[in-house]
Amino acid sequence: MTITPPAPGAPVAYHDPVRQALVRRTARRNALVGMASLVGFTVVVVLLVTRTTGWPIVQETFFNGQQFVESFPGLLDAFMLNVTIFLIAEPLILVFSLVIALVRTLRAPIFLPLRVIATIYVDVFRGVPTILVIFLLGFGVPALQLQGVPSDPVFWGTAALVLSYSAYVAEVFRAGIGSVHPSQRMAARSLGLSVGQTNRYVVLPQAIRNVVPPLLNDFISLQKDTALVAVLGPIEVLRQAQIDASSTFNYTPYVAAALIFIALTIPMTRFADWVQARMARRQRAGGVA
């Protein structure tokens, strides 16, 4: 069989069929080799692990099917509290940190006190471990017995997460603002836009777009850190797992709780990857700006 290629300059894409078949064959072979290697490796690891002398007791303690089934519904219920904490904290963090980041960009002398406060805030809360902030607020503030101030541990745990995470996220936003080229600001100002209008319409939309991937990363991290609120006592998923584990001397509930977290963070992680890849593609495609 002979194939006649189109004349040079013809307005069609042309792929040499022989070459294409070769490329396809190689791709198929690569996929097969990869799959076989993965399966083989997994079998070897599983065999090695399950044949060790300690395996039965490990399985009994961490991977007990009956324990899993018994504790799972309760854990899932308790996890709703984690989700609630996350859903309340996240929007607050976004708003709070954006305000802090903007305050830190203000240059007018009248704003100096605000700028100093914002800088000290970020320095302090980035330096203090989140769990310490939770202890301080969750046990400390209710101990003051102030009137009208809530003593609910969930409230203070969430407040501590907001305080701690806002410091980080503010720095993410500040980096985003810094990533917008100064010529954009200059162009906006040259059209007569005020500093505020320039930020609102020109700088922030670009800044926020630039930091979406790191922001998603911080969201994922916050999802996990809702478990830290457990130290204050409310029955969220980690606390529930602890109760189950200590009443049966079996650690399967911890593994179950871990699986619940993973089930939520993996889709989020994939989503973050997808957003990042899409933005990288856009960046490569985009030229003139």
């Binding site: 010529s183 954009q184 200059m186 162009a187 906006a188 100002r189 040259s190 059209l191 007569g192 836009l193 005020s194 209008q197 319409y201 020109v202 939309p205 670009q206 777009r209 495609a285 985009g286 030229g287 003139v288 700006a289």
Partner: protein, 245 residues
């Protein structure tokens, strides 16, 4: 009679490196003044000072005999509504469509109703042959199209004075023509223009007056025929000989 733009004795240094050294420049209404000179002669800095993007160290810049741009207390947003500037690197807003780029300042600064701003923008786009690009994002434009959109964006604020800062220097040579054509269209419409450029043939063609800048002052100026054909000073001759080869 005062002129539209009066620059007298303006000094400007960057980190103790003087760029403008007591420069004078007068521009009457409806004139097109072209600034020529080597890189670093102060053309761009002068334009930025006129728009208030850079503060001057000494001297006066007066707009229309009434607004002193060089006064540190002046409301620069007011100045910038009257003085448009287009940059070498377009500086379009990448997250907005062409239409939004153009209507942003009229809507937010001049408080023109969105519908009217849109209509006016479309008229301007059509005048420069860009009506098909209204809904596109800047990354879909060629350099020449992007620069013409930048010109339209500045025009949409209806400035009395338009500044062009080497607007063809970043362009593919094939695209320079369409941008210069847009500028020619503006000069024939009677808009007052100050333009820094390396396009000598174009300068000769459209300029009412040519100013040769050197070391931060106007070294020689006059009608284009005089400056290009019979330059009076040896430095002007030397510069022209270098760029006109």
């Amino acid at each position: 009679m005062s002129s539209l733009l009066d620059v007298t004795g303006v000094w400007k240094s960057f980190e103790e490196q003087p760029v403008l050294r007591g420069i004078d420049l007068r521009v009457d209404a409806h004139q097109a003044v072209v600034l020529i000179g080597a890189s670093g002669s102060g053309k761009s800095t002068l334009l930025r000072c006129i728009n208030g993007l850079e503060a001057v160290d000494a001297g006066r810049i007066v707009l229309d005999g009434e607004v002193e741009v060089s006064d540190p207390r002046v409301d620069l947003d007011q100045v910038r509504r009257r003085v448009g500037i287009v940059f070498q690197s377009y500086n379009l807003f990448p997250h907005m469509t062409v239409l939004d780029n153009i209507t942003l300042a009229p809507r937010k600064v001049s408080r023109v109703p969105a519908d009217q701003a849109r209509q006016e923008a479309l008229v301007l786009l059509e005048r420069f042959g860009l009506e098909a690009k209204a809904g596109d994002y800047p990354d879909r434009l060629s350099g020449g199209q992007a620069q013409r959109v930048a010109i339209v964006r500045a025009l949409a604020m209806q400035p009395e004075l338009m500044l062009f800062d080497e607007i063809t220097s970043a362009l593919d040579p094939l695209l320079v023509g369409e941008v210069l054509e847009a500028v020619r269209e503006l000069t024939s419409g009677g808009l007052t223009i100050v333009m820094a450029t390396h396009e000598m043939a174009f300068a000769r063609d459209v300029a009412d007056r040519v100013c040769f800048l050197r070391d931060g002052i106007v070294w020689e100026e006059g009608p284009p025929e005089a400056v290009f054909n019979e330059p009076q000073r040896p430095e002007t001759r030397e510069f022209l000989a270098r760029v006109l080869t």
